[in-house]
């Protein structure tokens, strides 16, 4: 089976995230094995539980949730990149529970297991 890792480095505020999520959903529908999604740089903002996006705009986090209900999905967050942007896994938890707190070591792991890597 085709194995895929997606690395997301762009923020969730724009239409770029619609494309990334659409790509992943399409891959899953086609039976691609998604080894994992890794969020890095501004991509970590996808996991920000406190972000308020106007209700008439695309809610990336809801879409991740929907995908995760339907498929087995590992969403890894680079915690260093997240902390730089004011997100924390500690007391004032600001990371949505859909996401797994990881580090760059996880990217090494994902790379070793996948056939293809795509950056969005």
């Amino acid at each position: 089976m085709n194995k895929l890792v997606v690395v997301i480095t762009t923020p969730p505020f724009s239409n770029l995230s619609v494309t990334a999520i659409n790509y992943i959903e399409t891959a899953l529908k086609l039976g691609v094995e998604l080894v994992g999604v890794f969020f890095y740089q501004d991509g970590v903002l996808h996991a920000n539980a406190n972000a308020y996006i106007a209700s008439d705009e695309f809610q990336a986090i809801e879409q991740w949730q929907k995908l995760k209900q339907k498929y087995d999905l590992a969403l890894h967050l680079c915690i260093t990149a997240a902390e730089k942007r004011g997100m924390t896994a500690e007391s004032k938890n600001s990371i949505d529970e859909l996401f797994i707190v990881s580090g760059l070591g996880e990217l090494v792991e994902l790379t070793s297991k996948t056939e293809r890597m795509v950056q969005f």
Binding site: N2, L4, T9, T10, N15, L16, T19, N22, Y23, T26, A27, L30, V32, E115, R116, M117, V118, Q119, F120
Partner: protein
């Protein structure tokens, strides 16, 4: 051994597409998505070496949303399923963003 090149930005704003063109090998595939769709009329397209037989595609939905007309004699309009298929029918992917 071919590469899928995903172009996400307008060449009128950044030089990413220009760098992509410099990195093409024989039979590579280009797909314009997101703001990459604005490049369909950019004269950089004519600088692509014909002998390399590069296939040009555009995410149809992304181009139409931007009011861009697709000249199908030059560019092949595709859907997201095709982009996923191209991910695996080529040997690697570079996203120019």
């Amino acid at each position: 051994m071919t590469t899928l090149h995903i172009i996400r930005q307008s060449a009128y704003t950044t030089t990413d597409f220009e760098q992509c063109i410099q990195s093409l090998c024989m039979n590579d595939i280009i797909v314009f998505i997101d703001d990459g769709c604005y490049n369909l009329q950019h004269n950089l397209i004519s600088t692509i070496d014909n002998s390399k037989k590069i296939q040009l595609n555009v995410m149809k939905k992304h181009a139409l949303a931007r009011g861009i007309i697709i000249d199908e004699s030059i560019i092949n309009p595709i859907e997201m399923t095709a982009l996923v298929a191209l991910t695996f029918s080529n040997d690697r992917v570079i996203t120019w963003q």
